[in-house]
């Protein structure tokens, strides 16, 4: 049982398995690329629906967690060894291990030499520790934590994300996956002064009860509503239109939801049971202002089959008539096509980005300017054992280590 657990732990904490699993997904991506152009979307869909692939993806954060535990354990063991507390130094903690047969019983002279070349030292009854530079361990931990968060985030997002698309319309109840909320009081599009966003969007929603607090939903960071992120996608206009034609004297009137923002973007509205079709777009105001912020004016083309029979423009509340055709827009309202997304992985992925940046900011200066270098010398009854390890500037450190060993050897020779 112990052997089995040890084998399982060996797999979970292996350095090689994460690249292997990532490589497997890369191969899968390449394989899918032969079949479809929408490779990434297809890969995500297959991973979401196939239990084997979902488990494979779940292994990645597991391996990262395994590495965190394994490397923390090694770090603590090494610290204990360097503190001179360890009865025996486990194998594999250091880069080099040497045993010198020696009767030398003092490491004081060696301590002086190592002090002189810039190492910090600690001398105990039977051990001398020397070190310099900062450890890369914190950066490594941040990196592994970032990897854990990234893959856990992707796994959670891929396997649990739910999305509901609703249309938020001024004056109508706020749509949500869990039933309608309060009335949408206003949709305000404004200019933003931030570094990244050029526009601000506020959807003001009255509380569910009269006199309740008005909630605001903006662009970014996304607000939450009943556990779901509110993700505004596209702007549009809800237009109430009335239409009559010489061959349609009874007329037609209905609401249309038009995705016609920004100005110039066209949307088509069929007049059911007739050969007529309206092409509508927002007119650009002469003063250069945003057409969404003031009174909206609509450009239209009326087509009968393929033939254009009428073109013109009319504002909200306005009317246009010509040659027996009559078209009016009694009411228009702003609307936002909005996704309500339940996804617990988003925060983890953002956290991973922060952790990666922090890890990079710590690792680079430490590795370049003062990498960690360590040596340990332990006096044993008939020999001296020495260990050495360096995270950078290995050549120089190895030179110091070898000279230290030479010093000990010379001491032995002098004694004999």
């Amino acid at each position: 049982m112990k052997r089995l657990l040890s084998a399982v732990w060996g797999i979970l904490s292996s350095r090689a398995l994460s690249p292997l699993v990532i490589g497997f997904f890369l191969l899968l991506y390449i394989g899918i690329a032969f079949v479809t152009d929408d490779t990434l979307t297809a890969l995500m869909e297959i991973t979401r629906t196939n239990i084997f692939l979902t488990v494979m993806l779940a292994l990645l954060p597991l391996f990262s967690a395994g590495r965190i535990v394994e490397e923390t354990g090694r770090y603590l063991k090494r610290r204990r060894a360097l503190a001179g507390d360890a009865a025996a130094v486990p194998a594999g903690l250091f880069d080099e291990t040497v045993a010198l047969s020696s009767t030398c019983r003092s490491l004081t002279e060696l301590q002086g030499r190592l002090d002189a070349v810039g190492y910090k030292t600690r001398l105990t009854a039977n051990a001398l520790t020397a070190w310099r530079g900062g450890s890369g361990f914190p950066a490594r931990m941040l990196f592994l934590a970032g990897t854990f968060c990234l893959f856990a985030g992707i796994f959670i997002s891929l396997s649990t994300r739910t999305s509901f698309r609703g249309t938020v319309i001024e004056g109508e109840p706020f749509p949500a996956p869990s039933g309608n909320g309060g009335i949408v009081e206003r949709i305000i599009l404004g200019k933003a002064s931030g570094l990244f966003l050029s526009k601000s969007l506020d959807m003001e929603v009255a509380g569910p009860r009269p006199g309740g607090i008005t909630e605001k939903f903006g662009l970014y960071p996304p607000s939450r509503y009943k556990g779901a992120y509110v993700y505004p996608r596209y702007l549009g206009v809800g237009l109430y239109l009335r239409f009559s034609a010489p061959d349609l004297p009874a007329g037609y009137e209905d609401h249309a939801i038009l995705s016609i923002y920004p100005a110039g973007k066209e949307a088509s509205e069929e007049i059911p049971g007739t050969p007529y079709r309206l092409m509508l777009s927002l007119a650009k105001p002469d003063d250069g202002s945003d057409p969404y912020t003031g009174r909206m004016v609509f450009l239209f083309k009326l087509l009968k089959g393929k033939e254009v029979v009428l073109t013109g423009k009319a504002p909200t509340g306005g009317e246009f008539s010509q040659g027996g055709y009559r078209l009016s827009f009694p009411d228009s309202r702003r609307l936002v096509i909005t996704d309500f997304i339940q996804d617990s992985g988003v925060l983890l992925i953002w956290t991973s980005v922060i952790l990666f940046i922090a890890a990079g900011c710590i690792w680079l200066p430490v590795r370049v300017l003062f990498p960690r270098r360590e040596m340990l010398f332990m006096l044993e009854p008939d020999e001296i054992r020495a260990w050495s390890r360096a995270e950078g500037r290995r050549g120089m450190h190895a030179g110091v280590f070898h000279e230290a060993l030479d010093t000990l050897e010379a001491t032995r020779t002098a004694i004999t």
């Binding site: 490589g23 490779t39 979307t41 880069d95 526009k199 992925i349």
Partner: protein
Amino acid sequence: MVAMKFIPHLLSWLGIVLVLLRGFPGRRTVVTVAGSAGFAAGLGGAFVFISSTPGDFLFSIIRDLVGGGLLLLWGVSVAAIYRSGVRDFPLSWGERLLSTPLYAGTAALVAGIPAGAICACRLSGTEGNAPAFLLLVLVAVALVFAALAAEKLLPPSVTMSQAGLMAAVVALLIFSSSAILRLDLFSPLTMKVMKFTHDFVHQFFESMLIPDHLFIRDYLWGYIGFLFGKEVGFWGGLFIWFTPVVIVALAVSFERLPSVAHIRRGAERRKIMAAAIRARRIRLVIPVLAAVILAAAVYKSRFPSVEYWDPKPVPVSADPTGEILIPKKGDISLEDGKLHKYLFKQGGREARFFILTTPAGNLTVDLDACAICKPDGYGQAEGTVICYYCKTLIPLETVGKPGGCNPVPIPFTEKADGVHIDGITLINNWGNTVQATTRIKEGGK
């Protein structure tokens, strides 16, 4: 002149044999026999396949095989760099396998088969007959003997890691295939990178709930828009292309030097270290050479020595009913298998299209643009048309079918007097395609 076309392939073959001989010291006979057999088998198999099955199928198989080699090199290079950082990486069984004659023979056979098949593809475009095939086999065997002689002249200190050996073989195969337009790997790779980047950015925005480009500052969207351009395809392609050999070189550079802490004579220590460092430097030569060969393959891909047939578009107009008529015969024969370009203008709008008779004898009318790239148009060469924007090669057999980087097909009617096309449909199709591709290239999602 025909023989000149084989020079890149035969040089690559010579290089492959040379590298294999040095990479498997003491296995000269196995490498020589297996390599020659592989080359002959690849050449013969592909020769028979091409003779019996016309079309582009074999070309795509060989291209995918060579691409698979690059992918495998990626895996090997990552394993190599992992191994270089760990002194006791548990791969002793693998090392035992690498030193067996079976492995050396298999490696030579596997390298020889695609090398021969690539040569057969060149043969198909020129003198595809049995004497030419036999002559090529003889030349290939002669080159194996030349490689045997050349290998003896190399200094014994020139050694290579297994990853370096593979890098060199894959680079030489890629170089050989890049000399044939239809086997070129780099251009399709850049296309795939472009598509991946676009998909990735789109998915990232969706996953992280980032607002659409309507709400993002222009300068920022300008940077994001850069990710959708062909430059990203090119640079991303270069990254994928060169990274494995760079990793192999890094793996060699990071190889741990032998532990000399147990040696108490400084001079001896320094001697051992100096020898190890010198050997490590020499092992860097092969990955560096592989990088140079890959660079040559990229150059071949970007500037192929092929002249594209790209006629100036002929202006055409529609009759009062809006129909365009292109006669089948006349100054231009639509059935000559060549691409014929036309320009149609109406009411300030214009559309560029071409007519082509495919090798199967079917007429096809297509926009001189695809649904993905900017409408830089197409040229025709050696059984394919090429998209000038992304350099993707489209086999003539698939022109007229929609999807990917294929030209957008246009409905038409073929009558005795010629080809009839609806002008409005043509203009609208062009407008929609150009509008969509321009939006994508300028950073729209």
